[in-house]
Symmetry: C2
Subunit: 336 residues, 2 copies
């Protein structure tokens, strides 16, 4: 293990000089600096981060907590965060929490242990009130999801408005029997999308049908989407459009419709949410509400570094969304 004093000896200077040469702190003779850097190269020296962190009381590391890597929705967000971290001279390390509270807490405890400067959470159930304790003491940003009424910084789209956009589109296609394929979790986004759905129906003068609201699994699995959609199609008066709150659920709905002998979008319209990359794989291609994933990542990380640097930053960041119209939706046709 080569240390700073090895370099000092090799270069014939003091450790203070080596440190200065490396961190550009204070004035230093360019010639000395060169000499030091040569020694650094010759000895393959890298500063010991533990020692540096101990002294500086900061780590140059941020943590990203994600419930599952399977969800393609996170891919661009993670890239956005990583890129921004690099720009700030930090590393972004991802922790796979698998939606397990013990793992989540274990990861967040790394903050208390001075092993990371801050953390970004990629999913937050609305009952995670214990988060307040961490947010009070450490830089924390919630990405995509957040806890209303809590003073924790968060970045997301306006899910209610986005939901209304989807509904405006479907209503414009003359659909009146519109179902909502939600998920069995308490994410704020889930609640907001449901609220937007209900509001839009009422605003259009349509009485919401309770049977038209069904739920997939908490993690939006394909099979749960398929099952929930099948239940809808088995109704005596099935919907002519299904508004799904994730692309994976929508894929399940598409397959359910096809297996029921229905053509998408001729017989039934199906829309997704998020616009994940896998969408290109499924046929028909999904009409979906696109989230600005990369920007969500960048914005979250930027806010986090502001918190870390004790710079002012708003508690709430709302990013723009847009509807992407593809093949899985169309104007309502009369059944033969």
């Amino acid at each position: 293990m080569t240390t700073i004093s090895d370099v000092a000896t090799h270069a014939g200077v003091s450790i203070a000089t080596v440190s200065r040469a490396l961190s550009n702190y204070g004035r230093i003779n360019p010639t000395t600096r060169e000499k030091v850097l040569t020694s650094v190269g010759a000895l393959h020296y890298s500063p010991n981060r533990s020692a540096r962190n101990l002294r500086r009381n900061q780590t140059g590391v941020i943590l990203i907590l994600t419930p599952n890597m399977t969800n393609p929705y996170y891919a661009s967000i993670l890239t956005g965060i990583s890129d921004t971290a690099t720009l700030h001279g930090s590393a972004a390390f991802i922790c796979n929490t698998l939606d397990d509270q013990d793992r989540t807490i274990a990861a967040l405890d790394r903050l208390r242990q001075h092993q990371a400067d801050g953390a970004i959470l990629l999913s937050t159930d609305t009952d995670s009130t214990w988060l307040d304790d961490y947010a009070a003491d450490f830089p924390l940003v919630l990405c995509s999801e957040f806890l209303p009424g809590h003073d924790i910084a968060h970045v997301s789209i306006d899910n209610r408005a986005a939901s209304c956009d989807v509904m405006r589109y479907l209503l414009g296609l003359e659909h009146t029997r519109i179902a909502h394929l939600s998920a069995d979790n308490t994410y704020q986004s889930t609640l907001d999308r449901l609220a937007g759905y209900r509001e839009s129906l009422i605003a259009a003068g349509i009485t919401p049908v309770p049977e038209y609201v069904v739920y997939g699994s908490p993690d939006y699995s394909f099979s749960s989407g398929k099952a929930a959609a099948q239940a809808l199609l088995d109704l005596s008066e099935p919907p002519t459009a299904i508004f799904c709150i994730s692309d994976t659920l929508a894929m399940g709905a598409v397959v359910a419709a096809q297996e029921a002998g229905l053509r998408v979008p001729d017989d039934i319209s199906i829309t997704g949410f998020d616009d994940v990359a896998v969408n290109e794989v499924i046929r028909p291609q999904l009409t979906t509400l696109a989230q600005p994933c990369y920007a969500l990542g960048v914005t979250s990380a930027t806010a986090l570094f502001a918190l870390i640097g004790h710079e002012p930053t708003p508690l709430e960041h709302v990013l723009d969304h847009h509807l992407v119209i593809r093949q899985s939706s169309g104007i309502k046709t009369v059944r033969v």
Copy 2:
């Protein structure tokens, strides 16, 4: 920031006693121990990892380097690694390298900087000879891919044998015009699968047709698979079966075939590789060669911790694979 001496003061003992109470080092009076633990709880004390790491010269962190999070193939591997790390009292942090050499090197430099005890690489191009330098100095394990002829620990299946299994299956279905949809990278797995394909043809007395070997993008993208498959279907004598070296490529091939008006598997058989979870989404469901992803992760992590602890561990771990027969393949039928 509460430190060990705060706890010592609060408990009315010395810092040595606090340290002993926490790390179970040496003899300590149970009563004193209780007293200390009470103070620890009251003060919400957590040891400063930087200080501890500096002193112990180890971090309790391993790094996982992954080229892209989009690839569902990695999901179970990552879980296997994380679970094993937890068992060893370590945390597994994931670095998104995006297949970028600078990012990869930056991540690996964390080892030299004493910010991680070891690393697992989830993809390795065969020209990454600079890896030897790191492997010589630090615990390193290659998962799924490896560099033949280099002394770096690795865990994978026998790709050549797996390829032969796929071919034996297709040949048993009486296919003779079998194409190979490979990828434009130099992964050892890619080369091995191609070798198994060629060998099997020759062993079956079939002369390999150069036009039947086509290439998708280095990262196995859906669209590249679709394009490559289209080229195959445009041949004057198109294949009756396409052996793809990834599920994503196979999905592309399926769509290409369908758009060309072919039925899968009636008109053409298509097989994938890996058996990633998204497979349940695509119809027809893919026949594919399943890799033991979770076990690959567990085995890699176990080997890494052996290296970290200077325990003996074989350089090469070969895990079992198996063929999963689903809907995308069938017996060769005569075209009408």
